[in-house]
Symmetry: D2
Subunit: 132 residues, 4 copies
C-alpha cells in the first residue's frame, strides 16, 4: 500500500548537480529537501523569505538523511513530505522517489525549530499551516 | 578535557556559501564535511578521485548532522574527525568548531560504505589508512 | 516586437540559490544557462552525459554574462536561447527574463567548442541539432 | 616577464566542485573569483557583508570569463587580480593559474558598480582601497 504524504514536488536532476562519480552529490539532496519544505510552507501561506524579513527564523536543528539509491543525470524524481510536531520541534519526514519507477532514493528526517528574536517558539500559524 | 581527533582541516567561510538568512546554508556543511574526509583519506594515501577511477566507490549511506550554531560570513573554523568501523560500515564522527573561540557548530556522524563492482566490501587498505 | 528564440525553459528561483544580499548569486545564473543548454541539446537528441561517455566533450571556452536585473526568492523566470556557428565555435545567445513581466535579467553569450580525443571538431550532428 | 598583480589568493580544488566531466564546473570559477575579490576588499578594509548591512551594494554588472584550461580534483591554484576604474565602473581583471606550474586556466574581467540606496555611486573609500 502506498504511503500518504501531505505534499510533493517534482524535480529533474540538472547536470551541474552531479559530481565526479557521475551521480548527484550528497549535499545537493539537502537543496532538494529544503526547496520542497519552502514550497510546502509557501503553499500553506508561510513564505520563508518573508518570515525571515519579519524576524521569524525557521532553523534546521538536525538533518538525518539515509541515501538509499543514487540519482543520475537527467533523472526525474519527486520529493514527498509529512510533518509532525514534538514539543517545540517541527519534524519533516521527507522521502525522494525516482520517477517513473518510484524507486526510493532518500529517506530523511529534518528537525526544525522556530526562533523569534533569538527565542524558541511554537507558532500557531505554523501548526495550522502544517495541519498539526 | 579536550577531545582527541585523528585529523583536522581549517577553513574560512566564503560569502557565496551564505544564504538569504546571512548564514552558511545547511547543505554547505556537507561540502565542508566531505572535503575534510577526502583530505583525510588523501593524507592516508587513499585519493577519492583515483579510487573512483579504479572502480572503488566510497559511498555515503547516511548523514546525521546536528546544527548547533551557525557560521557567518568571514568566520574561520576547523573540521575535526574520528573514524570507526562497524562491520562493513565506516563511520566518520565529524565536528566543526568556530575559530578562535572553539564554539561547537556542527556535530555529525557520516556512515560510509565501500563498493567494488557494485558489491559491498571491507577494504584492508582502508582499515589501515584509518588506523582502525 | 518580440525576439524569436529557438528554445526556452522555465524555472523558479530556489531559496538556497540566493546569497546574503537576498538575490540569486551571480554564479548560479551559469547553472541556469548550462541547464538550459543541456536541455536544449537533449531535445535535439544530443545528451550531454552520454556524449561525455562517448568521449565527445562540449566545453565552454568563454562566458560573457551581462547582469541587467537581479532575481529574488520565489521569482519565476524563463531562459531563452539562440545558436550560431562561427568556424569551430558554437555560440549560444542566452537571455533570462523574469515572469510574468518579461523583465530582462540576463543577457549572455556562451562560446563552446567540441573536442573529441582532445582535438577540436565541427560535429555534423551538432550543426543539424542546432539547425545551423 | 611575469605580470604584476595587486592581490592573490591560493585555493585547492574540492571534489564537490567537480562535475560529471571530472573537472571543476564552469560556474564554480565565479565562486573562486568572487571570494578572491571579497578577500581583496576585506584586506583593504572594505568588508562585503558589512557594506551590504550599511546599504552599500557592490554589484556585478558583467562577467567575461575565458576558460583556458580546466582544473581537476586536488589541483592547487592561485587567483590573482588587478583593478581599474572606468567612470562609475570598477573593473577587476582576474586570472587563475594552476600551481605549481603556473599554467593559465582562467582569464576574466569582472565589471562591478556600487549602488547606495539604489543609486550608482563612485565611492572615494573604494578608490582608495583599490589604490586607483
Amino acid at each position: 500500500m502506498k504511503k500518504n504524504y501531505q505534499f510533493e514536488l517534482e524535480f529533474k536532476v540538472r547536470d551541474y548537480e552531479c559530481d565526479l562519480q557521475g551521480v548527484v552529490n550528497n549535499s545537493v539532496y539537502q537543496n532538494y529537501l529544503e526547496h520542497t519544505r519552502h514550497e510546502f510552507l509557501d503553499t500553506a501561506g508561510l513564505n520563508f523569505a518573508q518570515m525571515y524579513e519579519q524576524g521569524i527564523l525557521a532553523v534546521v536543528a538536525r538533518a538525518d538523511i539515509q541515501y538509499k539509491y543514487p540519482l543520475k543525470s537527467g533523472d526525474r524524481f519527486v520529493c514527498r513530505l509529512n510533518t509532525e510536531r514534538e514539543g517545540i520541534k517541527y519534524l519533516f519526514y521527507q522521502d525522494i522517489y525516482r520517477l517513473p519507477d518510484e524507486k526510493l532514493c532518500i529517506k530523511a528526517c529534518i528537525t526544525t525549530v522556530i526562533t523569534i528574536g533569538g527565542k524558541l517558539k511554537v507558532l500557531p500559524e505554523f501548526d495550522k499551516a502544517l495541519s498539526i
